[in-house]
C-alpha cells in the first residue's frame, strides 16, 4: 500500500508538471481526486488495514494528498497566469490608431490677443467695458477734440451712415462715454471692432482696437511708459523694451507713437522690423485737457493717459501671420493652426 501511494505521488507530480492547460489539469484532478480517482481508490482500501497500520498509512495518505494538492494549486496558478498573459497579448491594439471623441476647436487669434490684454490689464486694476459700434459723430470725433472739418479728420476715412452716425473709427469713442459716466479715479480698457473706409494689404475695413484710459489726480507720461512696458512685457515676454516717439492725436497732448522691441528677433533686426529691431505698436499720450473738460472732468484736478494698440497687427505678429486677409477668411486650414 505504501509503495502504491508513493508510486501515485510520483506519477501524479510527474503528470502535473508536464500539464500545461486548464483542461488537462482538470482531467488530472479527476484522475486522482475524482470518485474513481487513484487516491480515492487507495483511501477506500484503508478499511482493509490493521489498526496498527492505519495511522501510519493515514499519515502517509495525507502527506501524499497535500503534496499532490499543492502541486495542483501551483500548477493551476501557473497556467492561469500563462493564459492571462496570452489573452492580454491577443488583445493588444495599435496605439497609433486615431483617437475618438476628442475634436477640439480654437479661439481666433484676435480673441486670444484681446483676452490676453484684458487679463493683463484687469490685473493692473483696469475695468473692461464696451461701447456701441454705430457711434455718433459727437463721441467718435467732436468730444475727442476733432471738430467738424478739422484737418485731423483726414487721418481717418470713416464709413458714414447719416450725417450724425457712423461706424466708429476708433474705440476711443468709449473713453468719452466712460468719462461722462464715472467719477475719477478710474482705469478702463475697451476692446472691440472698429471700422475705416480703407482696404489694402495692411488695412481692413473692419479691424480691432484695445483702448485704455486712466484718470487720476497723479498720473503722467511716466506712468504711461511704465504701464505700457509692463503690459507689452507680459504679452511678448521678458526683455521686451518700449520707446516713445513724438506723434499727434487730437485727444492727447503730448502724443506719442510707441515702439516695442521686435518680438520676432528680440531687437536684433529682421525682416519683420525691416532691420531696425523695433516695431511701431500703438499710439498713446496724456489726455488733452480739452477732452477732459468736454466730458465733465475737472482738468485742473485730474490728469489722464490713454493708449490704443491695434489688435489685429498684434495678433499677426504673435502668430506669424503675414496676410491680413487670412484673418477674416475663416478658412479652417488657418483656424486649426490656432489650437
Amino acid at each position: 500500500m505504501k509503495e502504491k501511494l508513493l508510486q501515485i505521488k510520483e506519477e501524479a507530480l510527474k503528470e502535473f508538471s508536464s500539464c500545461d492547460d486548464l483542461k488537462s489539469l482538470n482531467d488530472l484532478r479527476v484522475k486522482y481526486f475524482g470518485k474513481q480517482g487513484a487516491l480515492t481508490v487507495v483511501l477506500k482500501g484503508m478499511r482493509d488495514l490493521t489498526p496498527q497500520e492505519r495511522p501510519i498509512i493515514g499519515a502517509l495518505v495525507n502527506d501524499v494528498r497535500q503534496n499532490i494538492e499543492s502541486s495542483f494549486a501551483k500548477k493551476e496558478e501557473e497556467i492561469a497566469t500563462k493564459e492571462l498573459a496570452k489573452k492580454l497579448e491577443s488583445e493588444k491594439i495599435d496605439i497609433t490608431e486615431p483617437s475618438k471623441d476628442c475634436e477640439k476647436g480654437s479661439f481666433h487669434p484676435i480673441t486670444r490677443v484681446i483676452d490676453r490684454l484684458s487679463d493683463i490689464c484687469v490685473e493692473m486694476g483696469f475695468e473692461v467695458v464696451q461701447g456701441p459700434e454705430i457711434e455718433s459723430d459727437y463721441y467718435n470725433f467732436e468730444a475727442l477734440n476733432i471738430p467738424q472739418n478739422h484737418p485731423a479728420r483726414d487721418m481717418q476715412d470713416s464709413f458714414y451712415i447719416t450725417e450724425k452716425f457712423l461706424m466708429r473709427t476708433q474705440t476711443s469713442a468709449v473713453q468719452v462715454r466712460e468719462m461722462e459716466k464715472r467719477k475719477p479715479p478710474f482705469k478702463i480698457v475697451s476692446p472691440g471692432r472698429t471700422y475705416r473706409n480703407d482696404s489694402d494689404s495692411t488695412h481692413s475695413p473692419m479691424f480691432h482696437q484695445f483702448e485704455g484710459l486712466v484718470i487720476d489726480e497723479n498720473v503722467s507720461m511716466a506712468d504711461l511708459k511704465i504701464m505700457l512696458n509692463t503690459m507689452l512685457t507680459k504679452l511678448f515676454g521678458k526683455g521686451t523694451k518700449t520707446r516713445f516717439r513724438p506723434s499727434f492725436f487730437p485727444f492727447t497732448e503730448p502724443s506719442v507713437e510707441v515702439d516695442v522691441t521686435c518680438p520676432n528677433c528680440g531687437g536684433e533686426g529682421c525682416r519683420l522690423c525691416k532691420g531696425t529691431g523695433w516695431l511701431e505698436m500703438l499710439g498713446a499720450g496724456v489726455v488733452n485737457p480739452k477732452v477732459l473738460e468736454m466730458s465733465g472732468i475737472d482738468s485742473k484736478k485730474y490728469k489722464g493717459f490713454a493708449f490704443g494698440p491695434g489688435v489685429d497687427r498684434l495678433a499677426m505678429i504673435e502668430n506669424g501671420v503675414t496676410d491680413l486677409k487670412l484673418m477674416f477668411k475663416n478658412d479652417i486650414r488657418f483656424l486649426n493652426q490656432m489650437k
Binding site: 483726414d154 486712466v214 507720461m221 511704465i226 497732448e253
Partner: protein, 799 residues
C-alpha cells in the same frame, strides 16, 4: 511734404550727414519717411565733348567717337544719330548704374572697344520740362558752356537730397521749407537765417492803376494782390527748376514756377491772373451763387453753390477760391501784366469744396490744413523778390491788402510745475527756456511761470500741455527709457473687473471649442440682398446702409448672424475643407427707424454652424443644451419661426417668460441653395443680450436616498406625430415622487408595428427616500404610467 537739403540750407546751416538730420527730425516729431538722393544713379556720368566721329569698320549703324571727358580722351561707340563732332553730351563711364537699370562696363562692339555710353535725358531721369533737349529721342545735347569732365549731377543741378516728411495735422506751418527749416534750427540749436523779402519796384507806377479788390465774404480773412508788368514767360533758371523738380513739381514758366516755388518754400498758395482778362479791373471775393458754373485748369467744369468761395471779376467767376484756377483768366503766353493773388481762406470752406467737387490741389491741400494770416504777406513779398531776382517782370509799386484780421504773436503763461507734472520727469527750467527759444518762442521765466510769446505760425500752442509736448520732443523721449519709477506710484488703487457679457461669451466659446468648433471673425457689414437670400421678411429687412461703402459686399450693417456663417461654410466647402464647425460672437444692429435718427439696438449674439459628415439636429441640440446649462435659463422648445431654417428640423428656445433665447436647426434647403452650399448644414444662434439678463445659475443639491434604485423597461407604440418629449413629461409626472430618472434607449419604426407608428422604449428608474420599493409599489407606479400614456397619447404597450 518734400523738402531738399540745399533748400533748407538757404535758411539754416546743416553740417551733419543727411541720415543724421533725418533721424533727429524724426525723433523730434517730423517723421522723415524717405531720403532720396537725386544723384543715386548719376555717379560715373560726366560732361563730355565729342572731338571726332569715325565710321565703325564692321557696322554701318555704329560710329566710333573720341570724347574729351576732362583732361582725358576716351573712345565710345554709339548708334545714336543726333551726335556730331563738337557736341557736348552726358557720358556714362564704366561703373555707372543708370536709373533705368543699365550698368555700364567696358565692352567690345563688333571688335572695337567702347569705354562707356552717351546718355539720353530719360536715362538721366529728366524730361524736356526740366532741361531743353532731355525729351528728344536720342542723346541729350548739352549747352557748349558745360565743361568737359564736370560730374553730370553737378552740371544739371541734380545733386540735392530730398526728405519726404510726414507732417501731422497740428503742424500746417511745417508744410513749407521754412517751417521745416525752423524745426531743423530747433533740433540743431542753430539760428535761422534772415529771409530776403527785398525787391525793386517801378515807383512811377502803382497797383491801383491795374486792379482793385472787394472782399464780400467773411470766409476770406485776408486777400492780398501785387502786380507785375512786362512779364517774361520763359524757362526759369536751372537752379529754380532744379528745386521744383526735386520736390516733384513740373517746371512750366517763370511766373508759374515762382508761384509753385513760394507754395513749397513759404507754404503760401499764390495764383497768377492775366490782368487784361480781369473785367472791370476788379477782383471780387465772394460766395458762389447757387448753380454758378466755372471751367477750370483740369479741363472740367463745376457747378458751385453758396458754400464755395469764388474769386470773380464784375462779370464772371475766375477761380474756385483756394482750390483751382479758371481757364478764363489765368496767365498765358500772351500775358503782359500779371496780378498775383496771395490770400487766406477759411479752411472749412476749402475742405468742403475740395471734397465736394473731388479736386485736390497743392493749394487746396494747404488751405485745408490751415494757412496763417501772416503768411499771405510774407508769401507775396517773397514772390515779388524772386520775380525781381530772376528778372522776369517789373514789379509795380505797392500791393493791395484786404485783411479782416491779422494774427500776431500771442502771449501765454504756463506753469513749470504743471509741465513737469504732465511729463512725470523733472526738466530743468533753464533747459525748458532754451528749447522754447530754439523753436522761436521767446520766453520769460518768473518763478513757476513761463511767459511765452507764441509766433503767429504756431496756432497749435495754447496751454501747458502744448508747451510740455514742445519741450519733451526736443528734450528727447529717451528720458523715459530708464525710469526709476514703479507703476502707478502716485495714483489711487483701483480694482480690475471683467465685463459680465464678455465673460459669459468667453465661457460659452470655451464650450464650443471643446465641442470642436473654431472661432470665426466676420465683418459686421453685409451686402444689401442678405434678407432675400435668407428668406427673411420681418423687421430685420431694415438694414442700416453705409452712405459711402467700399463695395456692395459690405454696404450694409448686418441684422442677423446667419449670412456670415453660411458664407464661411460655402467658402470652406469651395476650397475642399471637410468637417467645418465654426462659431462667431458679434453683434447685430437693429434700427428703430430708417434713416437712422437714434442709436440702433446693438445685440450681442453667438452663432455656430456645422457642416459635417453624419451631423444632425440632435448633435446640434446637444451642443445648445450644453451651452444653456451654463445659465439659469428654464426653457422649452417650440418649432422655430426662423425662415432660413428647415421648418420641420428646427426649434426655438423659449424661456418661461416667453422670450426667445435661441434658434437652431438645419438650414432651409432653399437658403442653402442661395449660398451654393452642398449637404445639410446645421446652424444655431443664441441671443446673449437676453441671456445676460438672467440671474446667475445656482446649484442646489437634493439628498441622495440610501435605499436602492429600481428600474423597469417599458416600450410603447404611438402615432408618429406624438412628441417623445411629451411622452417623457407624462412619464415623469405619472411617477410622482418616486421618479428618479428615465432614459430613452430605443426609437423603432417598422411596418410590423403599423404604418405611421413608432415604438419608444423607456428605461424608468424609481427611488424612494424612506424605504426600499417592493414589487407592489413598482407595479402600481408602472401601471399608472401605462394608463397615463394610453389615455393621453393612445399609447399601446409593445410586447
Amino acid at each position: 511734404m518734400k523738402v531738399t537739403l540745399n533748400w533748407l540750407r538757404d535758411f539754416v546751416d546743416v553740417n551733419i550727414p543727411a541720415e543724421d538730420l533725418a533721424k533727429r527730425l524724426t525723433n523730434a516729431g517730423m517723421e522723415v519717411e524717405e531720403i532720396i538722393y537725386q544723384n543715386e544713379h548719376l555717379h560715373h556720368v560726366v560732361v563730355g565733348k565729342i572731338l571726332k566721329i569715325d565710321r565703325h569698320p564692321q557696322a554701318d549703324k555704329l560710329v566710333v567717337c573720341q570724347v574729351d571727358i576732362g583732361g582725358q580722351i576716351t573712345q565710345i561707340i554709339t548708334a545714336a544719330t543726333n551726335v556730331f563732332e563738337g557736341a557736348t553730351v552726358p557720358v556714362s563711364l564704366p561703373g555707372a548704374d543708370l536709373c533705368n537699370g543699365i550698368k555700364i562696363e567696358k565692352s567690345k562692339l563688333r571688335g572695337v572697344d567702347s569705354y562707356g555710353m552717351f546718355c539720353s535725358g530719360q536715362e538721366l531721369g529728366i524730361d524736356e520740362n526740366y532741361f531743353e533737349g532731355a525729351g528728344v529721342d536720342g542723346i541729350l545735347i548739352l549747352p557748349d558752356s558745360f565743361k568737359a569732365g564736370t560730374p553730370i549731377d553737378k552740371a544739371l543741378m541734380l545733386n540735392d537730397v530730398v526728405f519726404d516728411i510726414g507732417i501731422t495735422p497740428n503742424r500746417p506751418d511745417c508744410m513749407s521749407v521754412i517751417g521745416i527749416a525752423r524745426e531743423v534750427c530747433a533740433v540743431l540749436g542753430e539760428k535761422m537765417a534772415e529771409i530776403d523779402y527785398s525787391y525793386k519796384t517801378d515807383k512811377e507806377d502803382n497797383v491801383a492803376n491795374y486792379i482793385d479788390i472787394d472782399v464780400k465774404t467773411p470766409n476770406c480773412p485776408r486777400y492780398m494782390a501785387g502786380v507785375v508788368k512786362d512779364i517774361k514767360l520763359e524757362r526759369s533758371p536751372l537752379w529754380l527748376r532744379s528745386r521744383l523738380f526735386a520736390v516733384g513739381i513740373k517746371p512750366i514758366n517763370t511766373i508759374v514756377d515762382i508761384t509753385n516755388y513760394i507754395l513749397i518754400e513759404m507754404g503760401q498758395p499764390l495764383h497768377a491772373f492775366d490782368q487784361s482778362l480781369i473785367e472791370g479791373k476788379k477782383i471780387i471775393v465772394r460766395q458762389a451763387s447757387n448753380g454758378e458754373e466755372i471751367s477750370v485748369l483740369n479741363h472740367n467744369t463745376y457747378k458751385l453753390n453758396e458754400e464755395d468761395i469764388v474769386i470773380a471779376d464784375v462779370n464772371k467767376p475766375m477761380v474756385i477760391g483756394g482750390v483751382i484756377g479758371g481757364t478764363n483768366s489765368c496767365i498765358n503766353e500772351h500775358s503782359k501784366v500779371a496780378v498775383l493773388e496771395s490770400a487766406v481762406f477759411n479752411l472749412k470752406n476749402i475742405r468742403m469744396t475740395s471734397k465736394k467737387i473731388g479736386v485736390r490741389t497743392d493749394s487746396s491741400a494747404r488751405y485745408s490744413k490751415g494757412v496763417n494770416l501772416a503768411s499771405a504777406e510774407l508769401g507775396l513779398k517773397r514772390a515779388l523778390h524772386l520775380i525781381d531776382k530772376i528778372e522776369c517782370g517789373k514789379v509795380v509799386e505797392g500791393y493791395l491788402d484786404k485783411a479782416l484780421a491779422k494774427n500776431e504773436a500771442r502771449n501765454i503763461v504756463c506753469s513749470v510745475k504743471e509741465i513737469n507734472k504732465i511729463l512725470g520727469v523733472e526738466i530743468p527750467v533753464a533747459k525748458m527756456g532754451k528749447i522754447l527759444n530754439c523753436l522761436g518762442i521767446k520766453t520769460f521765466i518768473d518763478g513757476d511761470k513761463i511767459h511765452a510769446l507764441i509766433p503767429p505760425y504756431r496756432e497749435d500752442i495754447e496751454a501747458d500741455c502744448d508747451l510740455a509736448e514742445e519741450i519733451i520732443r526736443l528734450y528727447g523721449y529717451d528720458v523715459y527709457d530708464d525710469l526709476d519709477y514703479s507703476l502707478f506710484e502716485n495714483a489711487k488703487v483701483t480694482v480690475g473687473k471683467y465685463d459680465e457679457k464678455l465673460l459669459l461669451v468667453k465661457n460659452l466659446k470655451q464650450i464650443l471649442i471643446n465641442k470642436g468648433f473654431y472661432e470665426s471673425v466676420n465683418f459686421s457689414m453685409c451686402p444689401s440682398d442678405v434678407c432675400q437670400k435668407l428668406l427673411i421678411e420681418d423687421e430685420r429687412t431694415n438694414l442700416i446702409r453705409i452712405a459711402n461703402p467700399l463695395s456692395e459686399d459690405i454696404s450694409c450693417v448686418r441684422t442677423c448672424m446667419a449670412h456670415a456663417s453660411l458664407v464661411n461654410i460655402a467658402y470652406n466647402q469651395s476650397v475642399g475643407n471637410k468637417n467645418i464647425k465654426l462659431f462667431e460672437s458679434g453683434r447685430v444692429y437693429l434700427a428703430r427707424e430708417l434713416p437712422l435718427k437714434e442709436y440702433p439696438v446693438e445685440k450681442e449674439m453667438l452663432s455656430f454652424v456645422a457642416s459635417c459628415e453624419g451631423y444632425d439636429f440632435f448633435y446640434l441640440k446637444g451642443v445648445l443644451e450644453n451651452l444653456l446649462s451654463e445659465t439659469s435659463l428654464k426653457y422649452s422648445l417650440v418649432r422655430s419661426s426662423e425662415p432660413y431654417l428647415h421648418p420641420g428640423i428646427s426649434a426655438d428656445v423659449v424661456g418661461e417668460d416667453g422670450v426667445k433665447y435661441a434658434s437652431f436647426g438645419q438650414i432651409h434647403p432653399k437658403v442653402a441653395k442661395n449660398y451654393s452650399i452642398a449637404g445639410k448644414v446645421f446652424y444655431a444662434e443664441i441671443n446673449i443680450e437676453e441671456l445676460i439678463k438672467l440671474p446667475p445659475k445656482k446649484h442646489r443639491v437634493n439628498p441622495i436616498s440610501k435605499y436602492p434604485i429600481v428600474e423597469r423597461d417599458l416600450a410603447v407604440v404611438v402615432n408618429e406625430d406624438i412628441a417623445v418629449g411629451d411622452l417623457s413629461g407624462a412619464i415623469k409626472s405619472a411617477c410622482g415622487k418616486l421618479y428618479f430618472s428615465h432614459s430613452i434607449f430605443d426609437i423603432y419604426r417598422n411596418p410590423s408595428i403599423g404604418e405611421g407608428k413608432k415604438s419608444v422604449a423607456f428605461n424608468i428608474r424609481l427611488s424612494d427616500e424612506s424605504k426600499t420599493l417592493n414589487e407592489e409599489d413598482i407595479n402600481a407606479v408602472i401601471k399608472k404610467v401605462i394608463k397615463s400614456l394610453a389615455f393621453r397619447f393612445d399609447a399601446k404597450i409593445r410586447e
